[in-house]
Amino acid sequence: MRNLELGIWNLKLKKNAMIENTPIIKSTPEYTATRNACKLCAPLGASVAFKGIRGCVPIIHGGQGCATYIRRYLISHYKEPVDIASSNFTEESTIFGGGANCLAAIENVISQYQPEVIGMATTCLSETIGDDVKFYIQNFKDLTDRETLPHFISASTPSYQGSHIDGFHEAVASAVKLIAEGGEKGEHLNIFPGFVSPEDLRQIKNILEDFTIPYILLPDYSETLDNPIWDSYHRIPEGGTPIESVRKCGSARASIELGTILNKGSLSGRVKNNALATTAAEYLLESFGVENHRMPLPLGVSNCDHFFETLSQLSGKEIPMKYTKERGRLIDSYVDGHKYVFGKRAVVYGEEDLVVALSAFLNEIGIEVALAASGGESGRLEDEIRKYCPENTSEITVQNGYDYEMIHEWCAENKPDILIGNSKAYYIARELGIPIVRCGFPIHDRIGGQRIKHLGYTGTQELFDQITNMLIASKQDSSAVGYKYM
């Protein structure tokens, strides 16, 4: 592993040198600094995952600004209350350790919320000073007079290791490692959906329910981060994966892990400690022999087929007719929309696994993925894209570790027809006059980021219609004739 890693670094250095010496190759050089990052920090991802566990209140162990900024960001996307506590480090705790603050935070969260679970995420501050959260939790348990205590889950999420996606998977893996138990094999499946929208989670649940397969979805923030209006205020929103279900993950029939990159980066610091890079499903396989089916997010016909076939095969049940019809309608619309989309050139950016799935979908409808970029630094994006985009695969430019300014420069030079990803590239779209279809995270310049459906045949359908209509509108608006038929 170590050698491989060095190999990639060398490659990176060589590439740099090459660019410096041969200015003819017009490519964005590798910068030291990041301009407009295309990734967020690890504790944000961990907080989202914790919000998907029933009765869980996340505590971020660090300065209060981390919790405040992360809440601010999640709330502007989900448009819901998002309570995340902080251990409110001061200069003193920074010097003498955050133990006292950690204990006080736990105590106050318990007395205010009576949570079933407390999810602790660390920060660059607490990790740099070497705070041991697990030790503090034990300390709290030893010292408290309380008879009933919440379950504790802690994830190591310093923001100098990986991105929000690494934080997300780290929290999910920690939950499973700490809570899951083995036992007699059940019929249920574990579904690890990755960082998708609440609507997508609902979509996955509907599919499993239509199949009548018992399942455990972890995390499940379909309710907690997309609440209905309430009769009375709920301090902790309803919904989320119950801790008893997390416990049963070890006795599942199998796991389905959506996403193929996950937190398995080879460039991020995380890999230096291999133990940290284990995903929840890998841990369950190693510890309890729960077989793991890893596949890309079910977006696009081919990836959806893979997902549905796996469900059918694992359960021994036929794919419900409803989905066969949805699939048929989707393909029918591919034919209807083909003339508008074929040969168009798209830039896809954001979370790596979403970029892979989106690219695969575009590849199958004849939109050329001109650039697939992510701020994530797994170093694996290229392999995965090539694997799941069989058409003209060599023509796709794939970039790990990209920021929005690199995307900006790339777009200015290569003039793509459409941008597909989160709100953060809006400025590029605006400046260059390129239409943008919003999906992923964060979306804070449109309503309904939490309700965007990407997954399944109908999720793909919605995205397909949106992309096609965006291309039609763009053609219609720029035409000299005011066509009403397009």
Binding site: A33, G62, G63, Q64, C66, T68, A105, N108, S111
Partner: protein
């Protein structure tokens, strides 16, 4: 039947509410917290506990020192590259999130649309990040050729011993542009307030006074503590321009570093947000003899008052006449809109928990519509913002405050303005007030509840007790409050609206309140008190 009282004969005594809130805290904590909740009596001199650490585990509104320094004070300045030294989150989260607007002139630099970061990784934490920082500074210079670069420290920077100040000095020598660093690690203070102070010190030390530009106007002023959220500063600039007042520099809405460099050539400093910027006003007076006054352009009446005060300071007949002309013309427009909206919203109740000045300023705007403020508090203010500057000498300096450097400022003989000192003395003798901030509490109603650093639990209880018609805070509180059936107006980002300053801004705000308060959608939400006779027996309100 709504059970809400209209409090026509005055606000109810909220003692029961205060007790209810404090009951939740352990006894020792409750005793301390009680000092942060004051049942207001404008006729008494009451003390509030403010600017103290937030209790861990309580969901606070507060942010960090870095947020106050980079996000608030330096963020809106367009021609400086604000490079954040740290892991990625900090820079990402402060990327245009405050909606500061800026209007670069043709060909001028504008970097506020960018988020720059050294994106520290594991190896930088282990082996130190100074080399990477230097490389990033060189890169920023190569690409953008900026006039200035500010370097902002995030939590791990101080811990691993990276010295942003020495890197700044080295890079300044190497590149020949102004480069300076801020030790604004997130954990340094009790809130973003510490970051404001650190930013004030840095700007004063490294920027103010670098350019002795010739006079360009008869009345030269600086506006301090206006951050141009939603275009607020543009409204104020418009008024100054028409009145013939030369605005040298704003700290820091719609500003440039260049303008701050010659800000010491002003005749008067005007302070909007007292909390975030009073340090620079004080230091400029000591060093250059420039007096300062407190102004507010939030609310049509406050705008009139502030404009008149500036005209009185300069004592120029033409200026006074011009100001009166503007006021007469604008107030006619304001009155026309106000008279159509006020009857629809009059008697409604508001609450606001925001900032270090906004919770005070916005009460004026609400009052213009006949909306009363039943409870208010600041997120990161100090005692003087509540009780007035007279209490400054009696504020206890705790360890957290001592963390922040107090610059020792001496008179700059070459640039000192004895004429202004004389002018000030003369005006003082006529009853004109300088440094005149009496704080929020004297302006609030009897029995209104003043709360410092309000948290989630208290917010819930406040809503239950007062059943307000509108709650003002930020995005973090918005959906909590709205889920309870109460509309929330964001006073940080203005719900992506605004401007709300000066006359046109006041009109905007009236229209916004009409939209929010006279709508049908809230009737679709069953707020608990709409069908419950009383929430808690002991909390019955006697109007």
């Amino acid at each position: 039947m709504p059970n809400r009282k209209n409090y026509i004969n005055g606000l109810p005594d909220p003692s029961t509410l205060k007790e209810e809130i404090l009951k939740k805290y352990p006894p020792k904590l409750a005793k301390k917290r009680a000092k942060g909740l004051v049942i207001n009596d404008p006729n008494l001199e009451q003390e509030i506990m403010a600017n103290v650490r937030t209790i861990p585990g309580i969901i606070t509104q507060r942010g960090c020192t870095y947020a106050g320094c980079k996000g608030v004070v330096l963020g809106p300045t367009r021609d400086i590259i604000n490079l954040v030294h740290g892991p990625i989150g900090c820079s990402f989260y402060a990327w245009l999130t405050r909606r500061n607007q800026t209007r670069p002139l043709e060909g001028e630099d504008n970097y506020i649309t960018y988020s720059f970061s050294t994106d520290m990784q594991d190896e930088n934490i282990v082996f130190g990040g100074e080399a990477k920082l230097k490389e990033a500074v060189r890169e920023a210079y190569e690409i953008f050729k900026p006039k200035a670069i500010g370097i902002f420290s995030t939590c791990p920077v101080g811990l691993i011993g990276d010295d942003v100040h020495s890197v700044s000095r080295d890079m300044k020598a190497e590149l020949g542009i102004n480069i300076f660093g801020f030790s604004c690690e997130g954990y340094r203070g009790v809130s973003q307030s510490a970051g404001h102070h650190i930013a004030n010190n840095g700007v004063f030390k490294h920027v103010v006074g670098l350019n002795d530009r010739e006079r360009v106007g008869k009345f030269q002023v600086n506006l301090l503590g206006e951050y141009n959220i939603g275009g607020d500063a543009f409204e104020i600039e418009k008024l100054f321009e028409e009145a013939g007042i030369t605005l040298l520099s704003t700290f820091s809405g719609n500003s440039t570093i260049k303008s701050m460099e010659y800000s010491h050539t002003a005749d008067l400093n005007m302070v909007m947000c007292h909390r975030s910027i009073n340090y620079i006003a004080e230091m400029m007076e000591e060093k250059y003899g420039i007096p300062w006054i407190k102004v507010s352009f939030v609310g049509a009446e406050s705008t009139c008052k502030s404009l008149r005060k500036i005209a009185d300071y300069f004592g120029d007949a033409d200026l006074k006449a011009k100001v009166e002309e503007i006021i007469a013309r604008e107030m006619a427009k304001v009155e026309a809109v106000k008279s159509s909206i006020r009857p629809k919203v009059e008697g409604k109740l508001a609450m606001m928990f925001v900032g270090g000045s906004r919770a005070h300023h916005y009460q004026d705007l609400f009052a213009e519509l006949g909306i009363r403020t039943v409870s208010a508090g600041y997120e990161f203010a100090h005692r003087d913002d509540y009780e007035g500057r007279k209490v400054i000498p009696s504020i206890k300096i705790d360890a957290d405050t001592r963390n922040i450097e107090e610059l020792s400022v001496t008179k700059d003989e070459a640039h000192f303005r004895p004429d202004l000192v004389e002018k000030k003395a003369e005006l003082v003798s006529k009853g004109f007030e300088f440094k005149d901030y009496d704080g929020m509490m004297p302006d609030m109603l009897k029995n209104s509840l003043v709360i410092d650093d309000v948290n989630h639990w208290e917010t819930e209880k406040l809503i239950e007790f007062y059943k307000p018609d509108v709650f003002c805070a930020g995005i973090k509180e918005k959906y909590v409050v709205q889920k309870a059936g109460v509309p929330l107006k964001q006073l940080h980002s203005y719900d992506y609206g605004g401007p709300y300053t000066a006359f046109d801004g006041a009109i905007n705000f009236y229209v916004e309140m009409e939209r929010m308060l006279a709508t049908n959608i809230w009737k679709m939400i069953d707020a608990p008190w709409k069908h419950e006779s009383e929430l808690v027996g002991s909390m019955t309100i006697e109007a």
